[in-house]
């Protein structure tokens, strides 16, 4: 089975977010970058498990400059066989999906996996766009994935429960929590990652459809109003009369 996993670079989950250049850019000072957790913990690890059980290969693809190489090496250390980096700044989800589709269109991947969203732009866009561009079925937010007889069985959380879906390969599936367990790369993996192929490709020519013009931070809370633990009727009164929440 030939698997492609889309890997994105994001600020670490503990990052305190700040902006520069008139609030148009993330302030990258002191920011640690990681593989997007949904791409790494769930999509990549499940792809590796499927390969280990059924044979095949796992390729990762990333759209970004040379500053993305460390997170790509991390994915190779965890166990991907080879990696592709489209050497361009990802401008919007459409631009990114177009680059991945352009690479994947003639490679006959059986399955394209990616995280349900990145933890920076929270777009949930690339998977669906890729599926449409490649004319493939798409299942989003899979929390369980099994492959047998050329079909994928995917479980996904719905309002108040879950549903089990079946889809013919090839297809695109986005991964949510539960699809796999995070793997920590071992020393052998880290050593091997140094010599695994990381192929750099020139981008296809495409115009983005959206652009971010400004970032703002959420307004800070007015300050917490402390209520005496002995007087919970006061909390109930405040929630009813002041906050109008009950």
């Amino acid at each position: 089975m030939k698997l492609l996993v889309c890997i994105s670079k994001v600020p670490d989950t503990t990052t305190k977010i700040a902006f520069t250049d008139g609030d148009t850019k993330l302030d990258e000072k002191d920011v640690q970058f990681i593989v997007n957790p949904y791409d790494e913990w769930y999509a990549l690890v499940r792809a590796l498990e499927l390969k280990e059980a059924q044979g095949g290969s796992v390729t990762t693809i990333t759209v970004g400059g040379p500053d993305h190489d460390p997170i790509i090496r991390k994915a190779l250390a965890i166990g991907a066989d080879d990696a592709v980096r489209v050497d361009a700044k990802a401008q919007d989800a459409y631009y990114t999906a177009f680059q991945i589709a352009d690479y994947a269109k003639d490679k006959s991947f059986d399955l394209i996996l990616l995280g349900k969203e990145t933890i920076d732009y929270n777009g949930s866009q690339v998977g669906g766009m890729l599926a449409e561009m490649l004319d493939l079925p798409f299942v989003s937010l899979g929390s369980k994935l099994d492959i047998a007889d050329g079909k994928a069985t995917v479980e996904t959380d719905i309002s108040g429960g879950s549903e089990v879906l079946e889809v013919q390969l090839p297809c695109v599936i986005s991964a949510a929590k539960g699809m796999a367990e995070q793997r920590i790369p071992n020393m052998r993996g880290i050593m091997a990652a140094r010599t695994k192929p990381l192929n750099v490709q020139a981008p296809a020519d495409v115009t983005p459809l959206t652009t971010i013009t400004k970032y703002t931070l959420p307004p800070s809370k007015a300050g917490v109003k402390l209520v005496d633990p002995e007087h919970m009727e006061e909390l109930v009164r405040l929630l009813h009369e002041e906050a109008k929440a009950i």
């Binding site: 989950t13 503990t14 305190k16 977010i17 989800a93 459409y94 999906a97 933890i119 920076d120 732009y121 929270n122 777009g123 949930s124 866009q125 690339v126 669906g128 766009m129 599926a131 449409e132 079925p137 798409f138 299942v139 989003s140 069985t153 959380d157 719905i158 309002s159 108040g160 429960g161 879950s162 549903e163 089990v164 879906l165 079946e166 889809v167 297809c171 929590k177 459809l209 959206t210 971010i212 013009t213 400004k214 970032y215 703002t216 931070l217 959420p218 809370k221 007015a222 917490v224 402390l226 209520v227 005496d228 633990p229 919970m232 909390l235 109930v236 009813h240 906050a243 929440a245 009950i246």
Partner: protein, 318 residues
């Protein structure tokens, strides 16, 4: 020209999210001086369709022959309706279905997409919308550069408004393709309120000391008509199911009222809940970072405070 909203019925009933997109679409249509249309599918009663009209939609296009269409078919249904009514703005809900359909639609129509939009657009000299980014730690203003725009609307961003209008219903016909993704089974969690839809949420963390102590959390949730949730460590050690984990790598929620009990308030947890309108924190550590993000705080032992709170709620309700 028109605005088109996708209203997705759940077992023949329109959920709150469908009324939210109808209200949002009607307001955008008013800003642009055009009408708001809706698109739906399947077997939906006239009374249900009338609710959409009551929220400001003037015309409904329904592909009545479709049963449980997949996202590929739905994107064809919506783009067919968009052609039929000359839609310049298309809005769907930022939920499981919307998240799969909107990106397909964006590619199909070559229309710029912004997902998770939380407010009405700014149409002065262009078309810009805001949305939470960095998992709720910030907001971005995004400009859509194409003629046609696709938006997905974050839940709880706009209250549904009944304006007393009516919508004409017309059949939508077209070639919607074959179903590629089939539903094999639906499993329902027993008795609980679904977390992403909940107006009120009671959440607890490691401060509860063990899964056997969740009884009072469930009692409080019952008293409030709230869903229960938990922090990541609690889901990871198996005290609570994973689908209850709220935070940056779990479910992101925006209820009207969020109770955090015995949760310190790590930045990753806050990211998933700071869209909540009112936050109440109960923690025995006065230095817990969560108090900084809270509207109301109680410094005290949860095992003493929560039963008192339940009593107070009972006497409040009489």
């Amino acid at each position: 020209m028109s605005v088109l909203v996708f209203v997705n019925p759940n077992e023949g009933i329109f959920p709150k999210s469908a009324l939210e997109v109808s209200t949002y679409g009607a307001k955008v249509a008013k800003m642009l001086g055009v009408d708001c249309h809706a698109v739906t599918y399947g077997n939906v009663s006239d009374a249900e369709l009338a609710r959409i009209g009551n929220h400001g939609v003037k015309a409904i296009h329904r592909a009545s022959g479709l049963d449980q269409p997949d996202n590929g078919q739905l994107s064809k249904v919506i783009s067919t309706a968009a052609d039929a009514c000359g839609a310049s703005v298309i809005v769907c809900s930022h939920d499981l279905v919307g998240k799969a359909v909107a990106p397909r639609l964006s590619v199909r129509l070559k229309a710029g997409l912004v997902t998770g939009v939380n407010a009405l657009p700014n149409t002065d000299g262009g078309f810009s919308v805001t949305k939470p980014v960095f998992s709720g730690k910030a907001f971005a203003t995004e400009r859509i550069l194409t003629e046609t725009k696709v938006l997905s609307l974050m839940a709880n961003s706009i209250p549904p408004e009944e304006i007393g209008g009516t919508a004409a219903v017309q059949e939508l016909s077209g070639e919607f393709g074959t179903k590629k993704v089939t539903v094999k089974e639906i499993k329902k969690y027993s008795g609980s309120i679904a977390l992403p839809d909940a107006e009120r949420v009671v959440s607890a963390g490691r401060g509860l000391k063990g899964p056997e102590n969740w009884g009072m959390i469930e009692d409080l949730a019952n008293e409030l008509g709230a869903a229960t949730a938990c922090s990541r460590p609690v889901a990871d050690i198996g005290w609570r199911p994973h689908h209850e984990h709220v935070g940056q790598t779990g479910v992101a929620i925006r209820p009207n009222l969020y109770f955090a009990i015995g949760i310190s308030g790590a930045i990753q947890h806050l990211a998933g809940v700071n869209g909540s309108k009112v936050i109440v924190v109960i923690n025995n550590d006065p230095d817990a970072p969560f108090f900084k993000a809270a509207d109301y705080g109680v410094v005290g032992d949860a095992f003493v405070v929560v039963p008192k709170l339940i009593e107070a709620l009972k006497s409040f309700k009489g």
